[in-house]
C-alpha cells in the first residue's frame, strides 16, 4: 500500500432516513464517475426541518480514492 497516491473529493449526501443512508447515497452517486474509492471521513452533519420534524439529513464527507499508476 505504500506506493499509492490518493486524491480526496468533498461530497454532501442527503437522505430522509438518517446519517448512514446520506453517506451511502453520496457514495452511490460518486461511484458513477470515480473509481477506486477507499475510505471516507464525515466532516459535517446537518439537516433540514419541516414542521418541527427532520425532513432530511445532509452529511458532508471527504472520500479518498486511489490514483493508479
Amino acid at each position: 500500500m505504500s506506493n499509492h497516491i490518493y486524491k480526496k473529493l468533498e461530497l454532501i449526501g442527503s437522505s430522509g432516513e438518517g446519517i448512514e443512508a446520506a453517506v451511502q447515497n453520496a457514495l452511490a452517486r460518486a461511484e458513477r464517475t470515480v473509481r477506486n474509492m477507499r475510505w471516507f471521513e464525515v466532516t459535517e452533519t446537518r439537516g433540514h426541518i419541516e414542521n418541527g420534524k427532520i425532513d432530511h439529513w445532509q452529511v458532508t464527507l471527504k472520500v479518498g480514492f486511489t490514483l493508479e499508476d
Copy 2:
C-alpha cells in the same frame, strides 16, 4: 430567501435509541416554543454508559429559525 434573518439556538437532545432520535427529541421539545425552525447542525455527539453499554445518546445541535418581518 435573501431577506430572511435567522437566529440560532443551541440544544442537547437525548435518546436511548441513537443519534437521529436524540436530534428529533430535541426538535420536538423546541417546537413548543420556537416557530419556523429551518435547519440544524450537529456540533457534539456524546453518550452515557451503564454497565459497559450505551445507556443513552446526548447530541448537541444548533437550530436555525427565521425571524419573521
Copy 3:
C-alpha cells in the same frame, strides 16, 4: 460526584451496520479490562468503502471512567 477523578481512553470501534454499533462494539471490548466507564464522546467518524459501498464504519471515541478512591 464532586470528588471523582476520571481518566479518558481513546478507542476506535468498527461495525458494518452503522455508527451506533461501532461505538457499542468499542465499549464491549473495553469493558473486559476497564471498570466504571461513565460516558463517551465521538471525535471522528470514518468508514471503509468496497465496490462503491460502505464496508464498515470506524468511529473514534474518548471514554471517561472513574478512578475510585
Copy 4:
C-alpha cells in the same frame, strides 16, 4: 465596565450587497427586541449563487449585549 454581565446571541443576516450590509441587516432586526447590544463577532461568511453570480451573502455573527442590573 467591570461589573457588567453580557449575554451572546447568534444571528445570521443576509444581503444582496455584501458582508457589511448583511451584518447591519441582522442588527437592525435584532434591535427590535434586544436592548444594549455592544459588539459583534463574525463567525461564518457564506453566500448563495444564482446563474454563476452571488445572489446574496449570509453572514453569521454573535452579538454581545449587556444584562443590566
Copy 5:
C-alpha cells in the same frame, strides 16, 4: 437523566478578583431569569488592563439548563 432536553446560553461574566469569581457572577445574574441551570463550560478567558495591572477578568461560558417536560 436520559429524557431531559437541555438548552445552552452563552454568557460573559466579569470580576476584579479572578476567573472563578467571574463565572460565579455570570451565574448569579443568569439565575434571576433561568431556572434549572446544570453545568457550564468555559470557552474564553480574557481581561482588561489598567496601568499594567489586571483590572478585571472577563470569562465567556456556556451554561446548560434543563427544559422541563
Copy 6:
C-alpha cells in the same frame, strides 16, 4: 431538495477592490466549467501588500454544486 447530492470545489479568487469582488471573480471563472453552483463558504481571507498598501485581496472559498441525476 432532499434528493440532491452536492460536490464541493475549493477556489481562490483575487481582486484589487475587495473581498466581495474576489469571490465574484472566482465564481465567474469557475462558471465556465462548473454547472449548477449553489452556494459558497469563505474559508480564508488574505491579501498582498505593495508599498504599504493592499495590492489585491485573495479569498479562499468552497463552492457547492449539484450533481444532477
Copy 7:
C-alpha cells in the same frame, strides 16, 4: 533531556474550590500509579451548578510523564 520519550495521560480532576485545586486533585490521584509526571496542559474547564451556584469545577488535563530507559 533530548533522549527522553514521554507518554501522555488524559485526566479530569474536580474540586469545589477552583481550577487550581481540581488540577492538583487529579495529579494527587494519578501519582499513586504513574511515576515521573513532568508537566500538564489544561484542555477543558467545566463545572456543575447547584441552585445557581458553582458546586464543583471539572478540569480536563493532559499529563506528560517520562518513559525511562
Copy 8:
C-alpha cells in the same frame, strides 16, 4: 524568493466604513515602522455597536514582512 525569512506581526485595525478600510488603516499605521510588508491574513472580524448600528469594524490581521539579509 526561496532565501527570504519572514516575520509576522499581529495587528488590529478599525474603521467606520468596513472590513477593507480597517485592514488598510492597520497597514498604514504599521508602515511607519515596518519595512517590506508582503502579505496579510485576516484572523478575526468584529465590530462595535452604537444604538443598534455598526459604529466601527475591528479586524485582526497577521502581517508578514521580509527580514532582509
Copy 9:
C-alpha cells in the same frame, strides 16, 4: 475608540501560585517596555510538576496595546 490601531504581543507568564498570578507576572514584566496595554486573552494553560505536585503554572496570553498616533 474607533481610530485606534492595536498590536498584539504573545507572552508566557509563570507563577507557583496559580493562573491569575502567572498572568499578572507576565504583564508586570511586559510593562517595562510596552506602553498602553489594554487587554489580554489566555490562549494556553500549562504547568510543571515536581514530585506529583504543581510546581508552577505557565500561562500563554496575547496582550493588545494601542499604537498611538
Copy 10:
C-alpha cells in the same frame, strides 16, 4: 499575480523515506494531469507501522494551481 484564479486539490502521498519524499511523490503523480501547480500546504502527517518500525509515511497536502484565462 492579482488576476489569477486558483483551484485547490487535496492529495495524499506516501513514501518509505520520509515526509519530504511523500510530498514529492504526490506532486509527481499529480503533475501528469494538472498543469501550473504553484504551492502546497501540508494538512496531515501520518504513517503506517510494521513490526514496531515506520513502514511508510502518508502526508496529506492541498495543492494550489492556476486556472488560466
Copy 11:
C-alpha cells in the same frame, strides 16, 4: 479488518536529527510494551534551541494499535 477494535496512545519522541527520527524513537520505546501498533498521526512538532541552533526535535504522535479478540 472490519472487526478490529483499536486503542490510541499519545507519545512524544525526541531526536537531535529530525522529525522522522523522533517518531521512530518514540515507536522503538513503545514497542517494548505495546503489541500490534498499526499507524501513527503526528499532532505537534516542536523543538529545543541551544545557542541559536536546534538542539533536538520533540514530536507528539498518536499511535493506534489493535486490541485482539
Copy 12:
C-alpha cells in the same frame, strides 16, 4: 525555571532542502537580534512548486525566548 517570563515570535523560514533546514534557517536569521531563544513550535508547513517539483519549503514557527530580569 518558574520565574521566567517568555515572549513568542512568529517566523517563516525557507529552504530548498526540507522542513528541518527551513526551521534552522529561520533560527539562524533570528539569532542576530534575539537572545535567549529556548524552543519553537511548527505551526504551518507549506512549499512552492516549480515544474511539478518542490522548489522550496516554507515553514512557519513560533519561537519562545526568555525575557531576562
